[in-house]
Amino acid sequence: MSETPSSPSPLPGAFSRDASRATDPGLAAASNRVPAHVPFPAAGNISDAEREDLRRHGILLTSMEELYNWGRSNSIWPLQFGLACCAIEMIAAATARFDIARFGAEIFRPSPRQADLMIVSGTVTKKMAPQVVRLWNQMPEPKYCIAMGACAISGGPFKQGYNVLKGIDRFIPVDIYIPGCPPRPEALLNGLIELQKKIQAEKMSGPDAARHFRADAPSEHPIPDFGEHDLDPPHNPAVWQAPAITRPGKV
């Protein structure tokens, strides 16, 4: 995070070496004020190499955001539930051989109130879908969703079945998709690592802040009703829309 030459110096009293600015009294005055969005100097003005150097000497410099995300990403507690064969691989990922505990995610919570991560592992039937959405709504923010396996992504081998939901992303937002039928436990671990990277990159403020810092982003989604022929509605248009099919030159 090295400072670029043209950016205003965040340190009060410092003045810009830019000649054109220095001669303009208005601009010089402006550059002396600390803009609100510049992070605290300790975190913002030091290069990664310098920080590594300090760390070697036993001095840890970090930011609140980094500390917060580091803690969260290494204690992702999944919700303990499985829907079909993929759940067996999820269980295997928790065993000694694959050991999801290495990533701090071994505490499978039996209550959605205590869970951070919903691993949708298996076929979501239409009869089950409202319950899955309800569990998602009961999880407190910050929360994440992994769609594990072809079924949870798209209906998988049962895509043409009348009773299978064609992907859980039709009702709740999915962060990580893990393809496979079933994905190996290593693939689930890889998905978890990808989720950790995603969490570590999340912002606490600003327009691209994480969902749980934004009042406008919903954390609950409407639960579909059991209709006479299908779920009602069959998908949540606020969350999912069918991609436009363009096949140039083809019908």
Binding site: K126, K127, Y162, E228, H229, A244, T246, P248, V251
Partner: protein, 228 residues
């Protein structure tokens, strides 16, 4: 064990008013079945279970079969003699008749005590719409419970005398019977990356809108007919 034919003869002697027909199976297993009329179904089932020579005490499987209405075209050759004495004129006459549809419940019975089986019995509903009631055999064989509920759910046969007749796989509000041959499933896989065959035909109904906004420099596509 007696053959299906022998069982049928014994049943007819025991239940003179019943209609029982033998449906032969041409396959190598020759697993023939007995079509039993619904009115005597329960009594016949009890007889099969309690008869000392059969003791069919275990119903391993109950399932449904849907037979929709069939149009049968029969061709008959009619020869009309020529009044002038020439060769008789042969014309073909086609008659069409509709065979009414029905739904069948099929039960596979075994004897645990005598280690034989299976004996297959079937019952037919009168039609596929309003007369779909058959006697439940759950009071005879407890193992029919869930399977008859499944038949009720997916085929729509109503089992009179079933202790707990509710849908078992689909939700209670569901109105259709998905295993019937005329069931129309909801069109909810509108997007498919590489559709082909029937899926392509279904996906086409969703193509129409984006096809109109296809880029102008795309090769001229044959005009897409509007989605039906």
């Amino acid at each position: 064990m007696e053959t299906a034919g022998q069982i049928r003869d014994r049943l007819l002697a025991r239940f003179p008013g019943a209609t029982i027909s033998l449906l032969t199976n041409p396959g190598p297993a020759a697993e023939h079945s007995l079509l039993v009329d619904a009115a005597h179904g329960r009594a016949i089932a009890l007889f099969l279970r309690d008869d000392p020579a059969l003791q069919l005490d275990y119903c391993s499987n109950a399932t449904g079969v849907d037979s929709p209405e069939k149009e049968i075209v029969e061709t008959k050759k009619v020869s009309t003699p020529d009044p002038a004495g020439g060769p008789a004129k042969i014309t073909e006459e086609k008659t069409t008749r509709t065979e009414p549809g029905y739904i069948e419940a099929v039960y596979h019975l075994y004897s645990m005590a005598l280690r034989h089986g299976p004996v297959v019995i079937r019952m037919r509903t009168a039609n596929r719409s309003d007369q779909v009631t058959l006697p439940s055999l759950t009071p005879v064989w407890r193992s029919c419970d869930f399977q008859e509920r499944e038949i009720f759910d997916l085929y729509g046969i109503v089992f009179a005398g079933h202790p707990d007749l509710r849908r078992i796989l689909m939700w209670d509000e569901f109105k259709d019977h998905p295993m019937r041959k005329d069931y129309v499933e909801p069109d909810d896989y509108e997007w498919e990356p590489t559709p082909h065959n029937e899926v392509l035909d279904r996906a086409k109904t969703h193509f129409a809108a984006p096809a109109a906004s296809a880029p102008a420099n795309a090769p001229a596509a044959p005009s897409t007919p509007a989605a039906p």
